[in-house]
């Protein structure tokens, strides 16, 4: 049989099919990529690189720990010190995860953490069990960890150069001020203070001290936030008129109902020292371990969780203290005797703030920051920055969507090169990392970018970076990411929210006078510390059920 057209068609016909499919796949992919590149080029966003921190050289920094509870232990781990109990618990958890085929990397991450040039030399905790745990786990024969009965003894001992303060909120300022007055470096947990007067006093003390002062907002090390700052500066979002931030937690741990230690008693706890300036009440384990639920020692959602969200945005936008705050809410999900709200909405007004404008000059100015929280629902509501030109979701990942009514992107939207449904930018440093998160509360913090950041695709504990920066500044000098000004902004914003909720009225900030505008006949500090009338007192049937 000779060659025919039919034979050629059936023999060679598969080649054009192959070519067509190849061409379609290649040109489609390359074309999409080119379109994307054009948009990215135009946006010109520079993903942030980790800041180079000079090494903590010389003799190890001698650190004293004040408060060795849940957060105190976490901070020590970031310094490279884990308790025997934690290591045993993590080994068990890792084995269980392995059996169930889940990733679980807490212990591995801790062991891979870069060593910091520090030595924990002292501990101060009013609960014997905790102080002894630190001494046993961290001390060696050559380098024992000394227990101090009071923070003043530790700070004035001359044996610690720096202190880490992880106590209940009402102790943050007195301890920080004492340390700064003695030129002892301070790393203090948030919120920085518990009332207004001590906030002003602490600012003064920091200004007059040679010591380095860092507030524990570790997310300032998160690279996505630094990248977000670049995005805002390049006016990619246009004028941001609204920011929505949220807390949704729905578990006991998230509602601050922490475990009560079986060995807790008036014999093992120095109750008077715990109380400090708080109202005198008889020994109460519930108050000791779950202090975040009472205004006398803690500050509820506004001090504990709003501060994270406020400072995340203050880190990105540098918007400072709001001109006014209005808050509302109540105790709706955990009626267990607490007097801090568990549902809280706060609106902060920044009428003079602007992230830039792409419209007629003067048309846009001012922004509202809202914080909406419940401890009775765990649905994840993302943090959104809503601008005239684009919306951005802020977390460990960043996603930007163009807005349908944008001025800046009007042409591309018209030409179909952009659509409000498709992100124009996506920053996901975790795309090639597996995260083993152990609890709902850690997931809550992880999603917000509060637990770790990603450096070269690898997960790094942001608290570690935050402490490393502090130690480096102690030895080498330099600027801290969350120093006194950032802490001051955060504390004032939190206290304004607490006051507004308690008084049921608008609280205003006097920028020139640098103080919360006084309200005639009201002692604002007293209001902050007290339980609002009727709040936290329960009906007989609820008490009986507890």
């Amino acid at each position: 049989m000779s060659w025919t057209r039919r034979e050629a068609l059936l023999g060679l016909g598969s080649i054009p099919i192959l070519g067509t499919v190849w061409w379609a796949g290649a040109s489609g992919t390359v074309g999409k990529k080119r379109e994307r590149e054009t948009i990215l080029e135009q946006l010109n966003i520079q993903p942030s690189l980790p800041s180079a921190v000079p090494a903590v050289s010389g003799k190890p920094v001698r650190v004293g720990i004040i408060g060795f509870g849940i957060r105190g232990e976490q901070l020590c781990r970031s310094l490279g010190y884990a308790t025997d109990e934690w290591i045993a618990a993590m080994e068990e958890a890792a084995a269980e995860a392995k059996r169930e085929g889940r990733p679980f990397t807490a212990l591995e991450d801790f062991r891979n953490q870069e060593p910091l040039n520090v030595q924990i030399t002292g501990v101060c905790d009013v609960f014997d069990v905790r102080a002894e745990k630190a001494m046993r786990s961290f001390g060696t024969e050559d380098a024992p960890v000394k227990r101090y009965n009071t923070y003043t003894e530790m700070i004035r001992s001359g044996e610690v150069e720096a202190v880490v303060i992880a106590t209940p909120d009402h102790w943050h300022a007195p301890m920080s001020i004492e340390a700064l007055n003695n030129n002892v470096h301070v790393y203090v947990e948030k919120p920085m203070t518990h009332n207004l007067t001590e906030t002003y006093a602490l600012k003064e003390a920091a200004a007059n001290s040679r010591a380095a002062f860092q507030v524990g907002h570790q997310h300032r090390q998160t690279l996505s936030f630094k990248t977000a700052r670049d995005i805002v500066e390049k006016e990619i979002l246009g004028h941001v008129s609204l920011i929505t931030t949220n807390t949704n937690r729905n578990d006991d741990n998230g509602a601050w109902n922490y475990d009560i230690h079986p060995e807790a008693s008036p014999q093992t706890i120095d109750w008077q020292q715990f109380l400090g300036s708080a109202p005198e009440i008889p020994f109460n384990k519930n108050h000791f371990f779950r202090w975040r639920k009472w205004w006398a020692y803690g500050s509820g959602l506004s001090g504990d969780l709003l501060t994270h969200d406020y400072d995340r945005l203050n880190c990105v936008l540098k918007m400072g203290i709001p001109k006014s705050v209005m808050a509302s809410g109540g105790i709706y999900t955990h009626r267990d005797g607490r007097n801090v709200p568990d549902v809280l909405q706060a609106n902060m007004e920044f009428p003079d703030f602007s992230t830039g404008s792409t419209q007629r000059k003067g048309k846009e100015k001012g922004m509202t920051f809202t914080y909406s929280a419940t401890l009775g629902n765990g649905f994840n509501r993302p943090t959104m920055l809503m601008g005239h030109d684009a919306s951005m979701e802020l977390g460990n990942r960043l996603t930007i969507w163009p807005d349908g009514g944008s001025t800046r992107y009007a042409e591309q939207l018209e030409a179909g090169k952009m659509s409000p449904q498709s992100p124009i930018y996506n920053y996901n440093p975790a795309a090639s990392a597996l995260d083993g998160v152990s609890s709902a509360t850690s997931q809550y913090f992880a999603d917000k970018g509060l637990m770790w950041t990603y450096v070269d695709g690898k997960r790094v504990d942001s608290t570690f970076l935050h402490m490393r920066e502090w130690l480096s500044v102690i030895r080498n000098g330099g600027t801290l990411s969350c120093g006194i000004q950032e802490g001051f902004d955060e504390a004032i914003a939190a206290h304004m929210t607490g006051l507004s909720w308690k008084l049921g009225r608008r609280i205003e900030w006097d920028r020139e006078g640098q103080q919360v505008i006084p309200i005639e006949g009201v002692n604002l500090d007293a209001v902050l510390l007290q339980s609002p009338p009727g709040v936290g007192s329960l009906e007989a049937d609820v008490v009986a059920a507890l």
Partner: protein, 164 residues
């Protein structure tokens, strides 16, 4: 309907199936080749079922680039062989193997979360069906009907005729 017409119809249907499966594989492969950002990380990291540890182990930094390369290379290989009808038996085998791996990474078994799937499946899904179709192609090659072997075998036959 004559029996030869039936046999012809069967073979032509199989040839069409071969080209379509090849098309599917080639396009999936090419899209990955030309997209340097593509990675199988997400697919492997979210793997389910009994082989979950195996697939998750593939996401390690040292292994992942190899897995990614092997994946697109296998896709393109299957695509080319099935479209052209050259080496169609090895192509069909690799295709079936690859699809079974995809199936096992995200099995549509009761109790397993279905991630990123369109449609509803119970045990059987499209990956499994396409894998079985590849097995059919393995047992019934059609390259000499439609594809390069038609010309190659014709040439061979012609040569043979001339030689004899």
């Amino acid at each position: 309907m004559s029996s030869s017409f039936k046999a012809q119809g069967k073979l032509w249907s199989l040839a069409l199936l071969r080209v379509l499966i090849g098309w599917h594989f080639l396009y999936e492969g090419i899209v990955k080749v030309y997209n340097p950002d593509w990675t199988s990380f997400g697919y492997l990291a979210t793997a389910q079922g009994p082989l979950k540890p195996v697939f998750q182990a593939m996401t390690s930094e040292a292994v992942l680039p190899w897995i990614d390369t092997m994946n697109w290379a296998a896709l393109v290989f299957v695509g080319i062989t099935l479209i052209l009808g050259v080496l169609e038996k090895p192509g069909a085998l690799v295709g079936a193997g690859l699809l079974l791996l995809y199936y096992l990474a995200h099995p549509s078994w009761p109790g397993m979360a279905q991630v990123n799937t369109e449609g509803s499946y119970w045990i059987v899904n499209k990956n499994l069906i396409e894998a079985v179709a590849c097995m059919v192609l393995f047992y019934q090659p059609t390259g000499s009907l439609f594809g390069l072997p038609r010309i190659l075998s014709r040439n061979k036959a012609t040569t043979k005729t001339e030689l004899s």
